[in-house]
């Protein structure tokens, strides 16, 4: 449904995308995961025919993004990263406007947006600018869906949205996917990765890995420890000054720790930290998450 071949794009001297290639099947939910400035928005804008790539080709539903941009614009739904609806128009007026622009009506495609729109329908006379962050995103999704697109492209739809709304939002995406809509979604939150069929880890304009979340995690073979003590700040400094340490990152309540060549065992690590007079110390093996993989990739090492 989406096919990207060797796409490159530079802004002045900054290379935003470097030779990117991937494909998305029909009805698939692909997540683009990466930090700010990784090139997610640029990639999406190229696919949405909003900017031109420097090199490479891309097609959406078989249409070339450069030559057949008019065809593409009829069958894609797009939600930009910034809230891009009319703040001085009410919820209903916004939806009506986008329905009219796409040559349809709310009634005609009400089925598709019912689940989402019904949640904000009680506020339909409220101006869009006065909605909460989560409601804004629901409205924006409704507007992007109103013309029954075949492909849905969402640029960081859950950024700045509370946890509950984020969860609801992903549930909606799953439902849409079941209706056969191909979805490309970007997010800086790695915990959302597991909800995608496949994820593309993207950094500095390059796709570092693209696979299903479980395969990505399975491929991670490093020995990983979770470490905790009474003094977390001193703990991270002590760990980083330990000569055998490879990485030590804070992950919620714990530090995730890897050693050079995975040669350190839990007991050795515990011993080292006890020497440093850490109290309430906990050290144990854990299963890696997608974040661990990403951290590993970010540090520029091969798996």
């Amino acid at each position: 449904m989406i096919k990207v071949e060797n796409i490159s794009k530079s802004y002045d001297k900054v290379e935003a995308l470097k030779d990117i290639s991937f494909e998305v099947e029909k009805g698939e939910l692909l997540g683009l995961i990466g930090p700010d400035g990784a090139g997610k928005t640029t990639l999406m804008r190229i696919l949405m025919t909003l900017i031109l790539q420097d090199r490479g080709n891309a097609t959406m539903a078989g249409f070339d993004v450069v030559k057949s941009y008019k065809n593409i614009r009829l069958l894609v739904g797009y939600m930009p990263g910034r809230f891009s609806l009319y703040q001085d128009l009410s919820v209903e007026e916004n939806l009506n406007f986008f329905a009219t622009v796409f040559g349809t009506t709310i009634e005609e495609n009400y089925d598709l947006i019912k689940d989402i729109y019904s949640q904000i329908e009680p506020f339909k006379t409220r101006l869009a600018g006065r909605l909460s962050g989560g409601m804004k995103q629901k409205l924006a999704l409704s507007c992007a869906l109103i013309h029954k697109p075949e492909i849905l492209v969402l640029d960081e739809p859950t950024t700045g949205v509370d946890v509950v709304s984020r969860k609801e939002f992903w549930e909606m995406l799953k439902k849409l996917q079941q209706q056969g809509i191909t979805i490309l979604v970007s997010t800086p939150y790695m915990d959302e990765a597991s909800l995608c069929d496949r994820v593309a880890l993207i950094q500095k304009g390059q796709i570092m890995q693209i696979d299903s979340p479980s395969t990505i995690v399975e491929n991670y073979t490093r020995k990983l420890f979770a470490v905790r003590s009474g003094e977390m700040y001193r703990l991270i400094n002590d760990l980083r000054s330990f000569e055998k340490t490879d990485t030590a990152y804070a992950f919620g309540q714990y530090l995730h720790y890897t050693s050079k060549n995975d040669e350190v065992e839990a007991t050795e690590l515990e011993q080292y930290l006890l020497e440093k007079e850490h109290v309430q110390l906990q050290v144990f093996d854990i299963e890696p998450g997608i974040e661990d993989v990403f951290m590993e990739l970010m540090s520029g090492k091969e798996l």
Partner: protein
């Protein structure tokens, strides 16, 4: 078509819900009109005049006394030679010189007819004309009373000359001038701002991705402002007519047609600006500095084009309002038809098409 109307409807929501926009649309025109109308004074008090009396007889003394006792005029000095007139005007204090011909009283008595010349400083044209009108009014009053006494037809023939601005252009010009300025402001600035606002808020991104054609977006932006600007033009002409008595001598239909042409030109100019400007601020500055000031200063609205240095005259000829003001003046004040303004109309038409072509060509179907 339905898409287009949906878009226009949305534009009207934007306009009617934004207090600032409404204020610019309807508050500023009326305020400006009333302001300019009042600043251009309609009454005279203690205007300094000089008298060059070549006759110095009883009648001229009487007239002089009558003029000075009216409360409108103060005698600065009596002149002794015709050469003094130029010199005294140059000093700028004296606004009017009255010249009685020699043997004024005797001529009036014997032939029933005498000449008086009224020379006004028309560098402030409104003032000049008012002074001359008041003076002739007082002269006529004197004659009517004198006629009653003498029972013979008498006639004082005042010959009015306006110094520095012989044809007294721009007396009523402030209404055409303000009209040109306001229509320019609303049409060009408001459209350019409303398009750049879409860019700034990111909604342009969605509009571009939609099946809306650039022409539909442009026309959808233009249509509401075209309608509102026409209403504005009506209001300006109406206030000019009712409050300040500016006449509409010529054809109202032609006047409206020309006004719509000018509005279209300004709207296209606004869109052209918006294709170059990235933010509302930039659009506003371009509109204000590149459009408003030249409209006020170079279009002949305040300073007559004929009095400008050659270079500025050239510059003024690329200012659309200059031609529109000529058209307005001809239709409203002189009552002439299309026959006399076809050249200016053609210039406006040419400008409109150039702006449209550039605007459509430069309107981007992508973000960069």
């Amino acid at each position: 078509m339905k898409r287009f109307f949906g878009f226009v409807k949305k534009e009207f929501y934007h306009i009617f819900r934004d207090v600032r926009t409404m204020l610019i649309l309807f508050g500023i025109p009326i305020a400006q009109l009333l302001l300019f109308g009042t600043v251009i004074k309609n009454d005279i008090k203690d205007a300094e005049i000089a008298i060059y009396d070549q006759s110095k007889d009883e009648v001229t003394q009487e007239i002089t006394a009558k003029l000075l006792s009216s409360g409108y005029f103060i005698l600065d000095r009596n002149l002794e030679s015709i050469n003094d007139i130029e010199a005294i005007f140059k000093k700028g204090k004296v606004k009017e010189v009255i010249v009685f011909e020699s043997n004024f009283g005797r001529l009036l008595e014997k032939e029933g007819k005498a000449n008086v010349q009224i020379i006004a400083d028309a560098s402030d044209p409104n003032m000049g004309k008012l002074l001359a009108n008041y003076t002739t009014g007082i002269l006529n009053d004197y004659i009517t009373k004198k006629m009653g006494e003498m029972k013979v037809p008498l006639q004082i023939k005042p010959e009015v000359r306006m110094f520095y601005n012989e044809e007294l252009e721009s007396v009523y010009l402030f209404v055409p001038g303000i009209m040109a300025m306001i229509l320019m402001l609303i049409s060009a600035m408001m459209t350019s701002i409303s398009i750049t606002r879409e860019k700034e808020l990111g909604t342009m991104e969605i509009l571009l991705v939609s099946p809306l054609k650039p022409v539909q977006i442009i026309l959808g932006k233009v249509a509401p402002y075209l309608g509102l600007s026409i209403i504005n033009a009506f209001v300006i002409i109406l206030i000019g007519n009712l409050v300040f008595g500016v006449p509409i001598v010529g054809s109202t239909i032609l006047l409206m047609a020309e006004t719509i042409l000018f509005i279209m030109m300004a709207l296209c100019l606004g869109i052209m600006i918006s294709t170059a400007a990235k933010t509302q601020m930039v659009a506003m500055f371009i509109s204000l500095i590149a459009l408003m000031l030249p409209t006020i200063l170079l279009s002949g609205f305040i300073f007559p084009v004929e009095n400008m240095p050659m270079a500025l005259q050239w510059l003024s000829s690329i200012m659309p309002p200059r031609w529109f003001i000529v058209i307005l003046k001809n239709i409203m004040l002189k009552g002439t038809g299309l026959l006399y303004v076809w050249k200016e109309t053609l210039i406006l038409l040419a400008m409109t098409s150039v702006f449209t072509i550039v605007a459509v060509k430069k309107f981007k179907t992508r973000l960069e």
